[in-house]
Amino acid sequence: MSQAVRPLPARIAPFGWALATIALTFLGLLAITFTIGRVVPIDPVLAVVGDRASRETYEAARLAMGIDDPLVFQFARYVGDVLRGDLGMSVSTGRPVIEDLARVFPATLELATLGILIGVLIGVPMGVIAAARQGTWIDQIVRVLALAGYAIPAFWLGLVGLVIFYAQLRWVGGPGRIGIFLDGTVPVRTGLLLIDSLLDGNWRAFRSAWSHVVLPATILGFFSLAYIARMTRSFMLEQLGQEFIITARVKGAHERIIIWRHAFRPIRVQLITVIGLSYAGLLEGSVMIETVFSWPGIGNYLTTALLNADMNAVLGATLVVGAVFIGINRGSDLLYRLLDPRART
C-alpha cells in the first residue's frame, strides 16, 4: 500500500476506528460500574441509601432506581443519566456526586501534574544519561530506582516521608493542602491552589500551599520517575545500537549531538505514550497518597466514601478516574499513531 496516493478517507478511517474503540471502552467502564453498583450487592438500594435510611427514603430510592425493570433497561437508563452528568446523590455529603467531584478534582489534578513534571524533568535526562553511560553509577541508580518503584508501597513511603521531612527536619508542611490558618483565604478561581494564590497575589498562601504540596508531589513523582527513567533508558539503548549511530560516530559527530539529536529525537514519540501511561498511573496512585496526606482530592473522597459505604460516591469517583485514565491512555496511543509514521500501517 503506497502512502502518498491514499485518499483522505483511507487515512482517516483508522482514527475513526480508534475513536469507536475508545467509545466502546467507555461503555465497558460504564458496564463495570453498573455491575458493581447493581448486580454485585445483595441489596443495591440499601447500598445506595445506607443502612440508616428510613423506610420512606428506601422506598423512594427503590422506585427511582427502577430495580424491578429488566437489567438492560436499567443499564440504558444508567448510561443516559451518566451522560447527562447525573451520578446520583452522595449519602455522606448530601450533595450531588458530580458537584462533589468537580470540587475535589482540581486538588488531585494539581498533585498529579506536579508529580508528572518531576517524573519527566528528572526521569528523562536520567534515563538518557544512564543509557549513554551504561554500567556507570548513574546507570546503577536508575536500575535501583526502577526496582524500588515496583517494590515500595506508596502509602508507606508517604508516611516515612512525613516522619523524616515533616516531623524531624521540619522542611515541609504537614498533611492537607495549606496551613490551617490560611485555609479559605484564597478565592477559588481555577481550583488549583498554587495558581489561585498567585493570581490573588497572596504570597503567604502560595508559600504555604507549596510547602504542603511538595512532599506528596515528590513521592508521586518518584514513582513516575522510576518508570520513565527505566523506559527512556531502554528506548535509548535500542537506538544507540542502530547502524545510523555508528555512521554518525564514524563521521566524527560530537557525542552530545549523537545522543541528543540522533538517538533521543526518534524516541520522543515513544516517550509520549510512556508519559501518558505514567500520568494516568499517578491519578490512580494519588488515591493512596491523598489518604496519607489528607489531601482533599478525588482519592481522599473515594476512600472516605468507601468507608461510609456511600455507593453513589464510590461509583462516581471510580467512573471519573476511570474515564480520565482511559482518556489519557487511549489519547496518548492515538497521538503516538498520529506522530509516528511507522505506526500508521
Binding site: T21, L24, T25, G28, L29, I32, T33, I36, G37, V40, P41, A47, L147, Y150, A151, I152, P153, A154, F155, W156, L159, V160, L162, V163, Y166, A167, R230, R233, S234, L237, E238, A280, G281, L283, E284, G285, V287, M288, T291, V292, L302, T303, A305, L306, L307, A309, M311, V314, L315, A317, T318, V321, G322, F325, I326, N329, R330
Partner: protein, 300 residues
Amino acid sequence: MILTRDWLLSDDPETRMQARMGQAYRLARALRRNPLAMVGLAIILALLVVAALAPWLAPYSPLDGTLSNRLQPPSAAHWMGTDELGRDILSRVIHGARITLFIVVLVAIISAPLGLLIGAVSGYYGGWVDRMLMGVTDIFLSMPRLILALAFVAALGPGIENAVIAIAITAWPVYARIARAETLTFRSADFIAAVQMQGASDLRIITRHVIPLCLSSTIVRVTLDMAGIILTAAGLGFLGLGAQPPLPEWGAMISRGRAFILDQWWVATMPGFAIVIVSLGFCLFGDGLRDVLDPKGRSK
C-alpha cells in the same frame, strides 16, 4: 536411575521424565549464574519458611499483648518494638507472612488459569470469538486496576477473601493477552494440525497442547506481578478494606500505626520493610526467570 550431570544434560533423553528433569536442571544452572535472581529466590524461600514456621519463630503471640508494655521502642526484648496494644511487632510481622502468602497464592491460582484459558481459547479459535474475548480483555486492561479493585471491594464488603477476589478480577487480563499472543505463534503449526487429524477435541487440544506451551511466559509474568499484588493487597489493608483487625496483615498494621507515626515511628514503618523486602524478592526472581525462560521479553 542415576542422577548424574551427564544423565541430566544428555542430548538424547530416553524418557520424558529425563528430558523434563534435564530441562529443569539447565534452568536452575542458568538461574544460578544470576546473583540478583538468587537473592530474590532466597527472599521467597525465607517467606515460605517464615510463613510455615510462624508459631515457632515468633517470640510472642501475634494477638495478645500486655497493655502496660504498649508502644515500646525497638529493644533487645522486642526487636521491632510493640504496638498500641502492647503486642510484639516482630511476632505480628512474622505471622503476617502467612496472610501475604495466602493472598498472593490465591490471586495467582484464580487469575492465572482464568487468563490462560481465555487467552488460549481466544487465540485458538480466532475470528469473532477472539474479537469478543479480546475486546473485553482490552476494556479491563485500560482500567485503573487499583480503583477497580477498590470499587469491587466496596460492593463485596471489606475482608481478606473479597480483597483476593477483587485483585484477581483485575489481574487476569494481562495473562489472557500473553496466552493469546503465545497461542497465535503456534496455532497453525503442524503438531496442532496433527492432533486435530487424530480427532482430538478442541477442549483436549487447548488443555493438553496449547495451554502447556503458554505456561512458561505466564509463570514469568505472574512472578513479576506478585510484587504488584502484594502492594495492592497491602494498600487495601491500609485503607481498611482488606484483612480486618486483629489479623496481623502488613498493610492494616501500617494503617493502625499511622495514628502514632510522629512519635512512635516504628509501629507503622516496621511492617513496611517486610512489604518492601518481599516485593523486591519477587521482582528480582521474576526478572531472572524472565531472562532465562523468555529471552524475547528481556529488557535491556
